[in-house]
C-alpha cells in the first residue's frame, strides 16, 4: 500500500513538473504573440494617426463654419480658428494632438465643444453591445453553416447553404435593416423597431433592443466565416493527416472536431480579425436605421457635420479597438494552431 502511494507520487511528480513547464511554455507563447502584436501596433498607430490628422489639413474644414452658422463672416471665422489653434503650423498641431491622444485626450468636438472621449465612450457601450452580439451570431451560425457545407460538400445541402449565404451577404446592410424592422418590429411586433436600453435597466429589454441591429450586422460576417471555414475545412480534409486519422480508426466526427477543424479554422479566424473593422464600419449604417446613438452614428454625424476632431477621435478609437481585437484573435489563433506560429 505505502509502496504503491510512493510509487504514485513518484509518477505524479514529474507529471506536475511537466505540466508546469507546459503552462510556462504556453504563457511564453502568449507573451511572444503579445509582444509581436504590440510591435506591430506601434507603427500602425503612428501611421494611422498621422493619416487621420492629415485629413483635417486636407479637408480645409474649420470649426467656424459649424459654429457660426449665418454669422460666419471671414472675421468671425478667423477668430474662431485662432481660438482652436488652427493657425499654428501643421506639425505643431499634430504634435499637440498626438501627445493629447497619448494621454487619452481626444480633444473637444467642433460642433458642441464637448469632450470627444466622453462622447465616444457614451456611444461605445451601445455599439460594442451590438457588434459583439452580431459577432456571436455571425460566428455561431457561420461556423455551423460552414461546417455543414464542408462536411456535406458538393451535395445539395452545400449548394443551398452557399447560395443562401451569398444572397444574404450581398444584401446591403440598410436593406437588411429595413426589412428586419418591417417584418419583426412593425409586422410581427416581436421586437422594438429602434432605440436602446442599457443593460442596467434590464437584460431582456437590452437584448431585445440590440437583437435586430445585431442580426442585420451579423449576416456579412456570418457569410464570410462560413465561406472561409468551408474552404479551410475542405482544404484540410485533403491533407494526409486526415487519411492518417482515418486509418487509425477515428470516427468522422472526431476527425472533424479534433483534426480538421483545428487546422481548417485558421483562415476563418483570421477573417474574423478582419471582420471587426468592417463590423464597426457597418454599425454606421445599422445605427442610423435603428436609431441607436452609438459609435457608428456618432462617426457618421461627426463626418457629416464636418466635425474633424470628432472624426479623428472616432478613427483613433476604432484603430485601438481593431488592434485590440486582432490581438485577441492572434492569441486564440496561436493557441489553436501552434504550427501557425512558425515562419511568418
Amino acid at each position: 500500500m505505502a509502496v504503491s502511494t510512493a510509487d504514485h507520487a513518484a509518477v505524479a511528480d514529474p507529471g506536475v513538473a511537466l505540466a508546469a513547464a507546459r503552462a510556462r511554455r504556453a504563457a511564453g507563447r502568449v507573451l511572444v504573440t503579445l509582444a509581436r502584436s504590440v510591435a506591430i501596433f506601434v507603427p500602425v498607430f503612428l501611421v494611422a494617426t498621422f493619416l487621420t490628422f492629415a485629413l483635417r489639413a486636407l479637408s480645409g474644414l474649420s470649426p467656424a463654419s459649424i459654429q457660426l452658422g449665418e454669422s460666419a463672416t471671414p472675421d468671425a471665422v478667423a477668430r474662431i480658428e485662432h481660438q482652436w489653434g488652427l493657425d499654428r503650423p501643421f506639425l505643431a498641431q499634430y504634435w499637440s494632438w498626438f501627445t493629447d491622444i497619448l494621454h487619452g485626450q481626444l480633444g473637444a468636438s467642433w460642433s458642441n465643444g464637448t469632450n470627444i472621449a466622453e462622447l465616444i465612450s457614451n456611444g461605445l457601450a451601445i455599439s460594442l453591445s451590438v457588434v459583439t452580439l452580431a459577432l456571436i451570431i455571425g460566428v455561431v451560425f457561420g461556423f455551423g453553416l460552414g461546417t455543414l457545407a464542408a462536411v456535406r460538400r458538393t451535395t445539395w445541402i452545400d449548394r443551398a447553404i452557399t447560395g443562401f449565404l451569398t444572397v444574404f451577404s450581398v444584401m446591403p446592410p440598410f436593406v437588411v435593416g429595413i426589412v428586419l424592422v418591417t417584418v419583426f418590429a412593425v409586422g410581427l411586433g416581436w421586437l422594438p423597431a429602434a432605440g436602446y436600453v442599457p443593460a442596467s435597466v434590464g437584460t431582456w429589454p437590452w437584448f431585445t433592443h440590440i437583437l435586430l441591429p445585431a442580426l442585420a450586422l451579423s449576416l456579412d460576417p456570418m457569410a464570410d466565416v462560413a465561406r472561409q471555414l468551408r474552404s479551410g475545412l475542405i482544404a484540410s480534409y485533403q491533407e494526409n493527416y486526415v487519411t492518417g486519422a482515418i486509418v487509425r480508426g477515428l470516427s468522422p466526427r472526431r476527425i472533424f472536431f479534433r483534426h480538421v477543424l483545428r487546422n481548417g479554422v485558421g483562415p476563418a479566424l483570421s477573417v474574423l480579425g478582419w471582420r471587426f473593422p468592417t463590423l464597426i464600419g457597418g454599425s454606421v449604417v445599422t445605427e442610423w436605421i435603428f436609431g441607436l446613438q452609438g459609435f457608428g452614428r456618432f462617426a457618421n454625424d461627426s463626418a457629416q457635420a464636418g466635425d474633424v476632431p470628432a472624426v479623428q477621435g472616432v478613427l483613433v478609437v476604432s484603430i485601438v479597438l481593431v488592434v485590440t481585437f486582432n490581438l485577441i484573435v492572434n492569441i486564440v489563433l496561436g493557441r489553436v494552431t501552434p504550427a501557425s506560429q512558425r515562419g511568418v
Partner: protein, 297 residues
Amino acid sequence: MVRRVLALPTGRLAVGILSLIVLLAILGPTLAPHNPLGTSALTLTGPSWEHWLGTDYLGRDVFSRLLAGSRTSVLGSVEVALIALTVGVVPGILSVYFGRVFEWLTLRIADTLIALPFLIYAVAVTALLGNGIPQAMFTVGVLVSPLFYRVARAATLAVARSQYVEAALISGASIGWIARRHVWGKVLPPVAVALAQTIGVGFVVVSSLSFLGIGVQPPAPTWGGLLASDLGYLSYQPWAPAVPALLIMATVWGSNLLADAIRDVSGEAGRALLHSRRARARRLDPAEPIPAGGVAP
C-alpha cells in the same frame, strides 16, 4: 482556367450573370427609353406601359435611370477592385523579393489600412474631402487593398519557399521568370477570388455611402443611389427598392459565385474536382460521393 470555370454549373451561372451585367454597363445608357435626367410632372407613379418601372420623386423614368446608372455603378465597383488590386498585389508580390526594409514597410502599411474600419474611413474621407464617387471609390479601394496584399504575399511566400522554385533557381531562372512561370499561376486564383469579392464589396459600400448621403453626385443615377433614394418613398412605391437591390445583389452574387468557382477549380484540388465530376458522370451507380471512411481523404 476559363474553361475549367465554365465546366462548373456555378461557373457558367456566374459568367452568365456577369456578362449580362457587363452588357448592361456597356449598352445600358443607350438602351434607356427616356432621358434619365428628364423630369416630368408624373412623380412616384407605378409601373405602366410608358414607364416600365414607374417614375421617381422628380418624375424621372426609373427604368431609364437604372439602365443609365449601370455603367457608373459597374465601373465604380470595378474601379474599387482595380485600385485595390494594383495598390495591393504589386507590393504583395514584391514584399517577398525586395528585401527586409520594403517588406517591413509594406507590412506595416497593410496592417494600418486593415486597422482602419473602411466604411467609417470612407465616410470620413468623402465627407471631409468632398463628395463624389471617385473619392469614395479611391478611398475604399485603398482601404481594401490589404486583402490583395495579403493574398498575393501569402501565395508568393508559399511559392518562394517551395522546392520547385529552388529547382528553377538552380536552372538559372531569373526572378522574372519564376514570377511568370511559377508564382503567377499560384497567385492568380486567390487574387481572382479576392477581385471578385472586392467587386461585391465595392457595390455594397457605395450603396451604403449613398444611403448615408455621401458619395452621390446628383442627378447622375447609380444603382446604390437609386436604392437609397427609393427607401425614402417606401409608402408610395414599396416595391421600388427591390429593382436596384436585385441588380446589386445579382452583380455581387455573380462575382461571389465566380470567386467560388475559381477557388474550386484552381490548383490540384480543382483538377481533382473536375476528375471526380467526370468520373461520376461515367460511373453508373450514382450515390457514393463519400468514401467508406465517411470523410473524403
